[in-house]
């Protein structure tokens, strides 16, 4: 039972590094959402349920929704800078002409 705390901390570290290393933006936001979820579990193990509820609703829910909305608006403002990534439900974004991969 005592082993779960270091394991979760290592997972947090890996997720945080993975967010910065990921090339596409949509998977990076999803990994960030998962980071918020694991953080909420860590708050529970540290015996603060108030913070766990708040982190689950704000970090893994609302902050990620705001990220998704921003991704949609970015893609529609500058259609010629499209990397060829698909945001589900994105309307009218030009599929990248000669999309250059990073």
């Amino acid at each position: 039972m005592q082993l779960i705390m270091p394991v979760l901390l290592v997972v947090i570290f890996i997720l945080a590094a993975a967010v910065t290393v990921t090339k596409k933006l949509l998977p990076a936001v999803i990994i960030f959402m998962f980071y918020g979820l694991v953080m909420s579990a860590i708050w529970l193990l540290l015996e603060s349920p108030d913070l766990a509820i708040t982190e689950a609703s704000v970090g893994a829910g609302i902050s990620s929704i705001l990220f998704f909305v921003t991704l949609r608006r970015l893609k529609e403002i500058d259609p010629e800078k499209n990397d060829g990534q698909d945001v589900p439900g994105g309307s009218g974004g030009a599929s990248g002409k000669g999309g250059d991969s990073a």
Partner: protein, 271 residues
């Protein structure tokens, strides 16, 4: 000409590698210095640390008798340190105003964009949410919306008995309205909460918090009777003014997050 281009490319490639290495070295140095500083802190929950001093013991011992709230966190942030919570609520309000300044659509922006003043900018006539008429979302929202609102109200009202409180419950409540706005479109969401109701709720909730807590500045000490009874600890009607303050904070947080979401989606309420 081609040789010079090739040389330039090689120089930029090696410069890029040196830049990356320097970044890694700098970040590793920074992280190691931070970890060294952190290792000098007292151990987690040790007896010599500032966490286990007599101040926290006093608060944990006297919360139920002083404030009537079983949840010590709620008793701390809404009774002992209620003035700091007022500052935090004002910070939320200030964040909403900042996002409104940066992203809000005003009549000026509408007219200038229509006149072609800002080329390539946001197309205001376009429907901004293509998921508006999705059937799965609508049917599931019909079931989920009352459940989420009920859960949010439960978390807010039980802030002094169980973990939760105004901040968590407000975030859950705002989630319900965000989902509704996504499923049924922003016009249908505006029939529930329009511009006037939204302004009245946000400003009124902070004002109510100020008034209720300012009354507590002048009462409950020096022989003046405290008009709000503490009640039996553990029941819903207990803890003095803490349930009312929780409701105010829940309303403020829900409106702030919902307003920020609307500003991100389409620039605020319709004119």
């Amino acid at each position: 000409m081609e040789q010079k281009n090739h040389e330039n490319k090689e120089r930029t490639v090696s410069g890029y590698i040196i830049y990356r290495l320097a970044c890694i070295v700098f970040v590793a140095l920074f992280v190691s210095v931070m970890l060294f500083m952190v290792s000098g802190l007292p151990e987690f929950a040790s007896q010599q640390g500032p966490v286990s001093s007599e101040v926290s013991y006093k608060y944990l011992k006297d919360t139920v008798t002083d404030t009537g709230a079983v949840n010590a966190v709620a008793g701390m942030i809404l009774d002992y340190r209620a003035f700091d919570t007022l500052g935090e609520t004002c910070v939320l309000y200030a964040a909403l105003i900042c996002v409104l300044l940066l992203l809000g659509h005003t009549r000026l922006k509408y007219s200038k964009a229509a006149a072609g003043y800002m080329p390539g900018r946001i197309d205001l006539s376009r429907e901004s949410n293509p998921l508006k008429d999705d059937d799965i979302l609508k049917v599931s929202m019909r079931v989920l919306f009352p459940v989420i609102v009920l859960y949010g109200i439960c978390v807010v009202m039980n802030g002094h008995i169980s973990p939760g409180g105004g901040f968590s419950g407000g975030a859950v409540l705002s989630g319900a309205f965000i989902l509704y706005a996504n499923a049924y479109g922003e016009e249908a969401a505006e029939k529930i909460i329009g511009r006037k109701l939204y302004t009245a709720l946000t400003a009124g909730a902070i004002g109510c918090y100020c008034l209720i807590k300012s009354a507590a500045f002048f009462m409950g000490a020096n022989g003046i009777e405290d008009p709000f009874p503490k009640g039996i600890p553990g029941t819903l009607i207990s803890g003095g003014v803490i349930p009312l303050l929780n409701i105010c904070i829940g309303i403020v947080v829900a409106c702030t997050v919902y307003g920020i979401f609307l500003l991100f989606m389409k620039g605020g309420f319709r004119e």
